[in-house]
Amino acid sequence: MSLFSILNLSLFQATVRMSMPVLFAALGGMFCERVGIVNIGLEGIMLNSAFFAVFATYLSGNPWIGLLLGVLSGVGWGLVIAFLTVKYYGNQIVVGTGVNVFGLGFSAFMCQRIWGSRGASESVVGLPLLRIPALERVLGENTVFVYLAFLLIFLSHLFLFSTHWGLRIRAVGESPQSADAAGINVHGYKIVFVVVGSAITSLGGVFLSLAHLNFFAWGMTSGRGFMGLAAMIFGKWTPLGCFLASLLFGFTDALQMRLQALGILPAQIILLFPYVVTILVLSGLVGKAIPPSDYKPYEKR
């Protein structure tokens, strides 16, 4: 077995694929934090959207409707989080934790009711491949998500740093008093972009259940929402940074699968890889990470 049997083009392709859920979570979390809301609930949002995507596909037989409902569930959670934390000054960590716990329990409960098993749903039709031969040579065969992700990174970057909305978002997150005094609708911006962020995050969940596995399994996000948070911090709250950091997580995930297939290390140890990297990243490899906000609720008088 040579090193090249591990490090080759298909590993790269797997890296890109496995970085998708983390990337969507990181980008979504980034939008929330940029307007001053820590969204701990990314994991729960993803899990729910994964469930709803499968559920809607199961009922309709059309994965596109699944995608739509999955994203709508993200929008719904975004609204809940936004109103609790922005309008009613709720504690962001408590609200986010609530979303996570609810997401885990709710999807299991529904799974049981619908498919008679808490563990997994029946298989459904996944999203079809999007054929772009020129890109396939490098990226492999992919669904719409990979291309969508690249587009999102590019657009988010432009949006955040080259439009007046982006400027205002950055101001609202960092110093709501100042933004308010400059005549900006602070609460409006916060609510809208928590919802946008949650919707983007839900794409990660839909990817897992309609492009990766084609069924719903209990706890199938397995911490990728939290890895998204880590990637966002590692990426210093910028779209490009989120992308690169997510690739790192995708790589450990892909490597983990590859090594498992080769059977050279005990599976339990290999499975730890992504999580170990998360801890390493968060505990200092990042250097000093200064968040763009102090995350306090902004009360207007």
Binding site: S162, H164, R170, S175, S178, A182
Partner: protein, 505 residues
């Protein structure tokens, strides 16, 4: 012609506080109108309400005779009202130009028109003579320049009524003079200005008319020509104000603080080089100098917030060079920090908690081993609030909601209500009204009379000269000379400019 701004019966209350009680105000086009009043009189609230940051409970606002209903700062800006707030409202991690255009960004399609923004701001800079590096990170600029960003922000929005809430409190005397000159220039250019300050000198230099508030009510408006310092002070406080005089007692021979050859590294600030001085019991030693020449660093070294690289500091004969801040507090060192928000208070803690900071673990407040004597603490807090005349709706509200001057009083009350042997006072009267300033000065002189030592670091040379027994002048981290307080201003000027009187090696 109707006045530019007319306010009628404006009332604004917060839970437990009537901050503005039926205020009437008229501002004529083209005047500079002073707004005076004690700490907590309601000046900032009145201005923030006019700027629509706060919603009034009652009252009407007219601009050029037409009633306006402004619901947010955005509408105030549209009506041509601009405001520089007491605590600046720039976003630190945005660039200067981004802060200026924020909220009124020029656009090309969906994108920010950066070039257009620069063109407009540069034109504005040329017009007003306010120069700035537009690419700099705003948070890295000194306060004086950040304030300049705020001024440009207002002018960029085309404001014709400019509100300045205590703009001079954070500035060095040199910057104050510059600002005053700018304001006069703006007035010539046809702008109308409302100017808030506690310094009567500035008010006399600038204003055409003055309105005085007291405890949320309007006392009156007078033309500056009819006013005198005494009269204004009396209107504000409701009684005559005297500046206390230093008594004749001689300082004792005993040394309370000895600083020997102390040097530091230039981390996060200026390096100090070979400082050498003593403070005797019963003595106030003033530290003068142009701001940024090591005053902050000197205070930090004395209270234990900055590492000493070389040299020795001793308090009452005990070596404290490497003692922690807490140990120094225990040994009787008190500190009034210059930045009350960063070092003086915990803004989200209550008044009581802030009064307790630093001696929560000492009897009599600590009862037994583990608990705090809450009834005693409450009585203590109430007595502090009473003695220092802190205007607050109660002792259980967060310090954040107090007016700027009252936050400062909380710090003072805490530091001056424990047994001290040496007080390091940095800008102790910054942002305080005349009565409170008088009170602090009296407190410092009382300490002196009781035979304690005081180091007074202040940007206000008049204050230093009025209170100190001796004055050290700092320049570039060195003590460049020592003067008697009665030396003439010319000598002070020379030393502060770095020209030593006796050639030094």
């Amino acid at each position: 012609m109707p006045p530019l701004l007319e306010v009628r019966g404006l009332t604004k209350s917060f839970p437990g506080v009537l901050a503005n009680d039926h205020i009437d105000l008229e501002i004529e086009e083209g005047e500079i109108h002073g707004l005076l009043g004690e700490n907590g009189a309601g000046k900032s609230v009145l201005m923030s309400t006019i700027y629509s940051l706060y919603r009034p409970d009652e009252g009407r606002i007219f601009l050029r005779g037409r009633e306006v209903h402004m619901v947010s700062p955005a509408s105030a800006i549209r009506c041509g009202v601009g405001m520089v707030h007491q605590h600046l409202t720039v976003v630190p991690h945005l660039r200067v130009w981004e802060n200026i255009v924020l909220g009124e960004e020029p656009r090309r399609g969906v994108f920010l028109a950066r070039r257009e923004a620069f063109r407009r701001i540069e034109a504005l800079c040329r017009e007003t003579g306010l120069q700035l590096d537009l690419h700099a990170w705003t948070g890295e600029l000194p306060i004086g320049l950040q304030q300049r960003v705020e001024i440009l922000k207002m002018l960029y929005r085309g404001a014709s009524l400019l509100i300045f809430d205590e703009p001079t409190t954070v500035l060095t005397p040199q910057e104050v003079d510059q600002l005053i000159a700018y304001l006069l220039r703006l007035k010539e250019g046809g702008k109308t200005i409302i100017f808030i300050s506690h310094k009567l000198r500035e008010v006399f230099a600038l204003c055409d008319r003055v309105t005085v508030l007291r405890r949320g009510r309007k006392v009156g408006t007078i033309v500056i020509a009819d006013a005198s310092e005494e009269k204004l002070a009396e209107m504000m406080v409701g009684r005559k104000v005297f500046s206390p005089k230093r008594g004749e007692e001689k300082p004792k021979e005993t040394v309370v603080l000895a600083v020997e050859h102390v040097s530091t590294l230039p981390e996060r600030g200026k390096a100090l080089h070979g400082l050498n001085f003593v403070v005797h019991n019963g003595e106030i030693v003033g530290v003068a100098g142009v701001e940024g020449n090591g005053q902050t660093e000197l205070a930090e070294v004395l209270v234990g917030l900055r590492k000493v690289r070389q040299g020795k500091i001793s308090l009452r004969g005990e070596d404290i060079t490497f003692a922690s801040p807490k140990e120094r507090i225990k040994k009787g060192l008190a500190h009034i920090p210059e930045d009350r928000h960063r070092r003086g208070t915990v803004l989200d803690f209550t008044v009581t908690e802030n009064l307790l900071l630093g001696f929560e673990d000492e009897p009599p407040i600590r009862r037994g081993r583990w608990t705090i004597d809450l009834p005693l603490l409450r009585r203590f807090a109430l007595s502090r609030v009473g003695e220092f005349e802190i205007a607050t709706p109660g002792v259980d509200v967060p310090v954040r909601i107090l007016s700027g001057g009252n936050q400062q009083k909380v710090v003072l009350a805490r530091e001056l209500s424990r047994p001290v042997s040496l007080l390091v006072a940095c800008q102790p009267t910054r942002g305080l009204d005349v009565a409170a300033t008088e009170y602090v000065h009296r407190k410092l002189l009382d300490l002196r009379k009781e035979g304690k030592g005081v180091i007074l670091i202040s940007a206000d040379l008049d204050e230093i000269r009025a209170l100190s027994d001796r004055v050290l002048v700092l320049y570039e981290g060195r003590i460049i000379g020592e003067l008697a307080p009665q030396s003439d201003e010319y000598q002070f000027g020379l030393l502060m400019g770095g020209k030593s009187l006796v050639a030094q090696g």
